[in-house]
């Protein structure tokens, strides 16, 4: 069985993928993970996860073109220019 190992380098850091190990059961998986990724004090925590338990997601299709989720969905430049223009003419008129 293959286990994926994630390790945390320091408290507060994200767990990052470190590598995979092959082990017949959880007890061996823990022992191998400790030896491979913890024996020099390089980790403060490990997540040892059976590979089958990982749900992989890869395709991110934006079928509805939901550009309001993205920075390129907001073009403020022209609108700002127009707004400033209007503010200036209004100020001139009120004078």
């Amino acid at each position: 069985m293959v286990y994926e190992v994630f390790r945390q380098e320091r408290k507060g850091q994200p767990y990052a993928h470190a590598g995979a190990i092959a082990a017949p059961d959880q007890a061996f998986a823990e022992a191998y993970a400790r030896e491979q990724y913890g024996r020099r004090g390089e980790s403060v925590g490990l997540w040892v996860v059976p590979r089958q338990a990982i749900l992989e997601v890869h395709d991110f299709v934006d079928e509805l073109e939901r550009n309001y989720h993205r920075v390129d969905g907001y073009s403020l430049r022209d609108k700002l220019k127009e707004a400033r223009e209007r503010a200036r003419t209004a100020a001139a008129r009120d004078r």
């Binding site: 069985m1 993928h17 590598g19 995979a20 190990i21 092959a22 017949p24 061996f28 491979q36 390089e42």
Partner: protein
């Protein structure tokens, strides 16, 4: 080459990286397996020359350091075989091919370790040569392999430290101790110069074309010479090559042509210790078979 394969080639040549689940050309997969498997074999076989000195290490501290290095290298083999396994070749098959003599491992692990001086020179200079290749693999187009290289390179740096410490201690010792290092260097220089392979142009090296390797053989050797010859010289050691010198204008090291026939013969299993080491690996595998059977039976 079909368009899909051509696009893949351009992608990796442009610095693109590939994950294990991605589509890849058969030729790329085959080359990856061959290259990575040989690396795994070398890590595993590479502990045997040093293992012979665990019981003969001069102090307890040295014995522990050497044991730790051996454990590191076997750990590297395990990580590397996992990468091969995800590419489609089971670890059991790799080990079978290794002990039957069908698969290769690096030239330097086919030689005897005559004295404690060899142990120092191996850990310092063989590991130094290896770390140069392995650092270049951090940029490998196959991402799972590149990723484990980070941990491997980190651990290799301890090995070089250990080797340098052994060598420096001997060089600060008696004449006989200094002689041990010089003799070991004389023995290892030839294999070290062959280590990075023949100076084939990078563009003609299929492993470079697919960007499995990120540098040519000669680049690696030049880097090794540039980094380590000055360190060897400063200890008062002599490199056994009268033609070795650096052209200060071009920065290129000149040296006597390494013995490529020796390299070919050694890596095909005709080195001075090739068969003995394979026999030992075979024996170890037979002796530990009951453990695997028991553990796997219990897990099933």
């Amino acid at each position: 080459m079909e368009p899909r394969e051509q696009a893949f080639l351009e992608y990796v040549q442009g610095g693109g990286q590939v994950e294990s689940g991605d589509w890849m050309p058969d030729d790329y997969r085959a080359k990856l397996i061959k290259f990575i498997e040989m690396h795994g074999n070398s890590e595993l076989m590479g502990v045997l020359p040093e293992r012979e000195w665990i019981l003969r290490a001069p102090t307890l501290q040295r014995k522990l350091a050497l044991t730790a290095k051996v454990q590191d290298e076997v750990g590297h083999a395990q990580l590397i075989y996992r990468v091969v396994e995800d590419l489609g070749k089971p670890r059991e098959q790799c080990l079978e091919d290794l002990i039957s003599g069908r698969a290769k491992f690096h030239n330097v692990f086919h030689y005897p370790t005559k004295t404690w001086g060899d142990v120092g020179v191996i850990a310092w200079l063989v590991d130094a040569a290896a770390i140069i290749s392995q650092k270049a693999l951090l940029k490998c187009s196959y991402a799972p392999y590149a990723r484990i290289m980070k941990k491997i390179c980190w651990e290799e740096s301890f090995h070089i430290l250990h080797g340098r410490d052994v060598v420096l201690t001997l060089m600060n010792g008696s004449d006989a101790q200094r002689e041990l290092v010089q003799e070991a260097l004389d023995r290892w220089w030839g294999p070290l110069m062959q280590f990075h392979g023949n100076p084939i142009r990078a563009e003609e090296d299929p492993m470079y074309v697919w960007r499995i390797k990120s540098q040519g053989n000669e680049d690696a050797r030049q880097q090794f010479l540039d980094g380590y010859v000055p360190q060897i010289w400063e200890l008062g050691l002599t490199v056994p090559d009268a033609n070795l010198r650096k052209d200060e204008k071009t920065g290129v090291w000149h040296y006597t042509e390494p013995d490529w026939d020796e390299l070919r013969s050694v890596v095909t299993g005709h080195g001075p210790r090739s068969q003995e080491r394979l026999d030992f690996r075979r024996l170890a595998r037979e002796n530990s078979a009951w453990v695997r059977q028991t553990v796997l039976a219990e897990a099933a």
